[in-house]
Amino acid sequence: MNYHRTLKSAVAALAIAMPLGWASIANAQDAVNLRMTIWSANEAHLKLFNEIAVGFKKDHPNVTVTYESLPFDTYTTALTTQIAGGNAPDMAWIFETAAYDFVNSGALYPLTDTLKASPGYNLEEVSATATERWSKDGVLYAYPFSTSPFGVFVNNHLIKAAGAKTPAELIAAGQWDWEQAISTASAVGKTGKGGLIVRDFNYQMWQNVASVWDGWGASPWSADGKTCTMAEKPMVDALTFIHDAIFEKKAIPGPGENIDFFAGNAAMTITQISRASLLPKDNPFSWDLVPLPKGPAGDYALIGQAGIGVMQAGKNAKTAAEFVAYMTNPENSAKLSQFFPSARKSLLNAEVLKKTNPLLSQEQIDKVVISGIETGKVIPGHTGFAQIQQAVRSGLDAVWRPDADIAGTLQKICGQIGPLLKR
């Protein structure tokens, strides 16, 4: 009797427990873990990203988003190695230089439909110039969440100590052009401090020098990307000017010279405005942020971009696309814009930008940020960029010598990259 009762109890317990068990297995099966690779390890950035992930979880309780910070310098290499190893992330940040490779390869999940279907998303307010590099045949494959203009940070203290005119004075006099900028940098360079530094260039990342040569209307290749234009007059003139500034005027620190603007050791640096966070807080110097100087070809601006793409190969590509739509909706874009300037028109006004960039003055925001984002060209990129970058880097080493044959070297570089551009 006892035996039968025990058996019955056991069967009853099983009958209750089994559906519960199935339910929990089903829940576990529904659980979606999304991973996004990023190149920032900044605590403030990660705090904001995690808040956004928590916000997404409210409507998608089964979705958990994690962020994986990869080293900035080797980011694309690490990302493609993950993909090659069959461990692709669900979402990834993508550099503007690598955008063509990712967009054209078919590695990314198309985003347009998901973004447009997201309530209140308003994709139309993101300008076509901002999305150009991230689209193919009218379909957006990665969202450009960061559109950061290049400007010139200035150390007024060093410039005044060298007895030169500050950029602000030159702007007021209507003389802010490359000749004057280099003259000021040269005056500081001759005191033993650094003149003007193109940040992150280091005689390797030559694409950042577009912040100078764009002033001459120079470009490494034609608009369709098929023809090398490095040996043409604007580029030869621009590089001759830069070469002269390095080796004759000592206005730009030469190859192998390590000088940090943000440590107070140089007159000026060209970099993206997001680097304002590097300005020293303990021992501050009198600084300014001004637009890029006028070149022989007129006024110009340069922007760097970063995109978020969803990996086509991922199991949860649709959910990942929904997360990207949430992360970059107007509300979250406003939050992100304190670190990553947005290309949304509604966020491109002094009121919003002043709140998110408290270090910058109204004038700096108007002249550098808003005007830069609206008119700026994106730094050079191309399909197969890593290979082209390496060939040009290797070729340009012959330019960064005192006795360089600039025109001849540029001709040789075109010979090297010509076949790569046509691919």
Binding site: G106, A107, Q204, G254, G256, E257, Q390, S394, D397
Partner: protein, 310 residues
């Protein structure tokens, strides 16, 4: 008698246990070597086979395509105009490294093979870079070799204008070689020191009695007796030199131009930076063949140049 034997055999077979002492010993032996053998199969032989397999394919990681292309990557290898420069840089690096490393290691070993007070401190000093992290070591040297870095700063004290070490083709290669030599010379030095201490003292005594000067003692006694160690260190150093990567990646990124782009760095660029995994695998096969040929040649040469007491 014969019949009795025939009957006895099956009986003795069925009674003898399967796990004989010999079998048990063999099993123990196999179990002892199993971790190493499995490691070699999983981490050496299978990847080697896969690399060869990949070298016959074009692998587009982003587009997720893996297409059989036969010998196309090998044709690309033959037509690659950069390869001559790359192999040249590799040969210069290896030759420079081997000559400088072995001669300096031997010199240090001879100097430190003395019974002096505090000699252990010097031995430790020269050996210590071997245990320092390679990347940390290289990064520090990178700072020292900058144009306005520590080395040129020191030269300036003596009124010498130092070169731009890492930005000029000749000095960049010399810098990379010297940084690598200083890092690893201690290891070869210890091996030479052990070999020198193994040379019987009686031989030197006999030579001294015969009136042989120190230089002849070194040539006729020391060198022949430590020649097996010279062979060992030269094989290790040559193979190691062909695998140099971190120093190039940190100090020069293969520049200026392509002057320090050695084979391994070129391979890394092709596979991981340009995403040409198929061609990168083909370059790996080339590296494997070069290492195998050089090691085989050195092994063959041992009969002529290495002296074995036995």
């Amino acid at each position: 008698m014969a019949v009795a034997q025939d009957h006895a055999r099956p009986e003795s077979r069925s009674s003898s246990p399967f796990w004989t002492i010999a079998r048990r010993d063999s099993l123990a032996g196999f179990l002892f070597i199993a971790p190493q053998v499995i490691g070699i199969i999983v981490f050496v032989l299978i990847p080697l086979g896969l690399v060869f397999w990949y070298s016959l394919h074009e692998w587009n990681v982003l587009a997720n395509t893996f297409t059989y292309t036969g010998a196309q990557n090998y044709r690309m290898l033959i037509e690659d105009t950069n390869l001559v420069e790359v192999l040249g840089a590799t040969a210069i690096f290896s030759a420079g490294l081997v000559v400088l490393n072995l001669s300096l290691a031997l010199l240090l070993a001879v100097l430190l093979n003395q019974k002096l007070a505090g000699i252990t401190i010097f031995r430790t000093l020269f050996f210590s870079p071997v245990v320092v992290s390679l990347v940390a070591w290289t990064i520090v040297w990178g700072f020292l070799l900058q144009k306005n870095g520590g080395i040129n700063g020191m030269l300036q004290v003596f009124g010498i204008e130092g070169p731009n070490w890492l930005r000029e083709e000749t000095t960049a290669m010399i810098s990379v070689i010297v940084v690598q030599v200083f890092k690893n010379v201690g290891l070869n030095m210890i091996l030479f020191l052990a070999a020198l201490q193994g040379v019987p003292n009686e031989l030197y005594e006999a030579a001294r009695i015969d009136g042989a000067p120190a230089s002849r003692q070194f040539r006729r006694i020391t060198l022949p007796l430590i020649s097996p160690t010279i062979l060992l260190t030269s094989i290790i150093t040559i193979v190691g030199s062909l695998q140099v990567f971190a120093q190039i990646a940190v100090l020069t990124q293969g520049g200026p131009g392509m002057s320090t782009t050695v084979l391994v760095y070129y391979l890394y660029q092709q596979a991981f930076q340009f995403h040409l995994f198929g061609y990168g695998s083909t370059l790996s096969i080339l590296l494997f063949v070069i290492v195998a040929v050089l090691t085989f040649a050195q092994w063959q040469m041992r009969k002529r140049i290495v002296f074995y007491e036995s």
